[in-house]
Amino acid sequence: MEFKYAEEMVLVDNCPPSDAVARETEAFRFVHEEIGDGRNFLCVWKLNPARKLAEKERCSGLGLSFFISEECARKRYEHLSRSHRNIGKSLGTKLASGTLKNEDGRRSNPGSSGHFDFWEAVGVEFASRFVIIADLII
């Protein structure tokens, strides 16, 4: 599989991790007001301005964050919006869902929070396949 950010991935050890897998799954992601917003499915390294501090970035900075369930996504967002009240400006204020297909890329194993990183294959375009399902700002 050829990855979208293959040039940058070679600069990071074990990226994507060897235990990342291709698996069809329903996924949930924080997005901005409009699903077509160019920031919605752009990895951290490619955002402009990028929210980064260290020279040595993590592999996850070349992936997209998803959750395995709406509940997990809401729980994480609630905590982030308490620790950072303007988090919506960076991550968006809506929750979108869609299906990740085997050929779309590889994902990390979901942690206990239900979060996983997803490294996209070349040519993948999620904006037309994801739909906004909820507001995250109460």
């Binding site: 951290v44 990028a50 929210r51 980064k52 950072h84 009240r85």
Partner: protein
């Protein structure tokens, strides 16, 4: 972004900060720890952005405050911004072209939405593999004797865990394990077997409460040692019961009195010793029991070493029971 009630600075006056770890991370850092070469700790707290820049609040914090934050004793709002060691904080607007605008602001002038909501704590952190140090929060009144004892007993637990996780193929040195000298020699050897660069030594200590002690050591072994202590705390009654049963078995079978290591008596008791030892050590969730049994020359020695190990884990935990130290909450 909001107009800050702040003084413009020509440039950010703090140079030479090195990124230590991210304390909150979601698609990029949101709260990060930096260290100055003089040992001072700084926090970078993301608070705003627009299409041109990300805005960070930067504040200098004490090591004790940082520890209390990461151990979730202090809420984020108790540290940001009021945990600053200075009467002010910095704001940095970091633009996509790499340029930075710096400001200096008084805490009372910081907008409310630039501060964490009340009673919000960090989530439990994973140990950082990039660091070679580990700090403990100190509370209460520490006597000079206690200050000397804590590193000694912690080192014993740490060295066992270090030895079990290492690549060294040789086992533990054999001892008769009759009387107290074997334990003394065993721990002297196992602490000496830790390579010099990974041996714990005190890098910094602040005695007054809330204080801290920072060791330079192998963080993985330290994390495992701490896990043994928190496991002991979580299952203390059953561990003490299983240790008691093992001691009683050794006593009633008269095993301390058998001097001949090749005596046929051992064959009669080895299975029971093995089972009782494994049961005792099974309460330490990350303890590699199989490797430990392999490294022990005899089942009897494994039993005696495990009892000594439990004794020192108990002694480490005693510092917490006396209100002198705070170990992480069980994960």
């Amino acid at each position: 972004m909001k107009e800050l009630v702040a003084m413009n600075l020509e440039r950010f006056p703090v140079t030479g900060l090195i990124h230590v770890r991210d304390l909150i991370y979601f698609e990029g850092p949101l709260l990060s720890q930096f260290k100055h070469e003089n040992g001072e700790n700084y926090l970078y707290y993301w608070c705003d952005c627009d299409e041109e820049a990300n805005r960070w609040m930067v504040l200098r914090v004490s090591e004790a405050t940082l520890l209390r934050l990461t151990e979730r004793i202090l809420a984020l709002g108790e540290v940001i911004p009021c945990g600053s060691r200075d009467d002010f904080v910095y704001f940095l607007d970091m633009f996509s072209d790499g340029s930075v605008k710096s400001y200096l602001a008084m805490p009372e002038a910081i907008p409310e939405d630039y501060q964490p909501a009340p009673s919000t704590f960090l989530e439990p952190l994973e140990p950082s593999p990039d660091t070679h140090s580990c700090s403990f929060l100190l509370e209460g009144e520490w006597s000079v004797e206690a200050i000397g004892n804590f590193p000694k007993v912690f080192n014993k637990v740490y060295s066992v865990m270090y030895g079990l996780s290492g690549d060294q193929s040789r086992g533990f040195m054999t001892h008769p394990w009759r009387g107290g000298f074997s334990s003394l020699h065993f721990f002297r050897e196992i602490t000496a077997a830790v390579p010099r660069r990974d041996r714990p030594y005190v890098e910094a200590i602040q005695k007054f409460s809330p204080g801290f002690v920072r060791f330079s050591l192998n963080t993985q072994a330290a994390e495992q040692a701490i896990r043994c202590v928190t496991d002991f705390r979580a299952s203390e009654l059953i561990i003490e019961e299983h240790a008691k049963l093992l001691r009683q078995f050794i006593k009633y079978e008269g095993l301390n009195d058998i001097e001949d290591e090749s005596s046929q008596e051992w064959e009669k008791v080895n299975n029971s010793l093995d089972a009782l030892t494994r049961r005792l050590l099974s309460h330490f969730t990350i303890f590699n029991v199989d490797r430990f049994m392999e490294m022990s020359a005899r089942k009897f020695e494994a039993a005696k070493i495990s009892l000594s190990f439990v004794k020192y884990v108990r002694r480490v935990l005693d510092f917490e029971k006396k209100g002198l130290i705070v170990f992480p909450k069980s994960r």
